[in-house]
Amino acid sequence: MREELHPGLEVVTVALDTGGADAAVPWIDHAKTTHPALIDAAHLLDELLGVVNVPTGVWIDERGMIVRPPEPAFPWRPRALPEDVLAALPAITVEQLDEAARMRIDPDAYVAALRDWVAHGSRSRYALAADEVLARSRPRPPEESRAAACFELGQHLHRTGHADDAVRWFREAHRLAPDNWTYKRQAWTFADPLQGPTPEYDSDWLTEVRKIGAENYYPAVEL
């Protein structure tokens, strides 16, 4: 997509990974990126823009104005893995992939909208006015601020060698912001890279996704 639309559009990827370069660089290098590939070890985008899941896209125009606030962004539909590859994966991963296949995404519509914006700029109907951008921005009640502070404490303690002590703060962030998948998945990963059931947390990815229905994991994108 970047190659098709560049230089009319620049793609910037940002890895939301408390693990920083250690976590993100292997993926960046594997992808052989030609665009800016940044690493957000402090999860600043969560706080600054209201990102709560990945992949999330934000469109910014030439003046530095956001014309589409954070929303699910899939440039393509993930392909089903071959049977021999699936057979080699842990059972829980296969179950997770099965649920993920039911998620509601529309890459074709998203990319078409992106192409339209690149071609037509502010005249594109997909480029939102500032007041609409703000209206679509995630509400931030007091408990969300507290959740962010708790998550940050958890990150800080995890990074400074107090992983066990971080758990209570991650749990509190999850309680205060139950629909923030970034907080959940980042924390679960530290207890189990496969994000399965662990003694540290009350839930796990599969359980939570099945609770809400995979089709509701991402909100519908109002293009």
């Binding site: 230089p7 559009l9 620049e10 793609v11 910037v12 990827t13 940002v14 890895a15 939301l16 990974d17 370069a21 976590a23 660089v25 993926w27 960046i28 290098d29 800016p36 590939a37 690493i39 957000d40 600043l44 985008l45 706080e47 600054l48 823009l49 209201g50 992949p55 999330t56 896209g57 934000v58 469109w59 910014i60 125009d61 030439e62 956001i66 606030p69 954070p70 440039p75 500032a130 951008v133 703000l134 921005s137 509400p139 931030r140 007091p142 601020s145 507290r146 962010a148 502070a149 708790c150 940050e152 404490l153 800080h156 303690l157 107090h162 002590d165 970034t182 998945r185 990963t189 994000q195």
Partner: protein, 108 residues
């Protein structure tokens, strides 16, 4: 943001939150909120709705973003500077003049 003392504005407060502490109080754009004197982060926290959470065991606080509105208070992209895979800082503002599609992803 992580802070280790309450008697002065945390370094980087304005860059991180948009709120700078000035003689008039805490200010962001044209809005200023008076603050108590001497400075106390707990006072700023209450007045701006920024949660302040204390980990007594480790002697640190975390200050959350301001609340009561939305995550975005302006459509202008904040000054986001993040490192690339080589550790070199990259500013999103360096891309002014170009349309940008920023995609947040994760290894998890």
């Amino acid at each position: 943001m992580i802070v280790d003392r309450l008697d002065r504005p945390p370094p980087g407060l304005e860059q991180r939150t948009g709120w700078g502490v000035k003689p008039e109080g805490a200010c962001r754009g044209d809005v200023c909120v008076p603050l108590a004197s001497p400075f106390d982060l707990r006072d700023l926290s209450r007045r701006l709705g920024m949660a302040l959470v204390h980990d007594e065991q480790h002697g640190v606080w975390a200050l959350g973003p301001d609340s009561g509105g939305r995550a975005l208070h302006t459509a202008e992209l904040p000054d986001i500077v993040l490192p690339d895979r080589n550790g070199e800082d990259f500013s999103l503002r360096s891309l002014r003049g170009t349309k940008v599609c920023m995609i947040a992803w994760a290894s998890w």
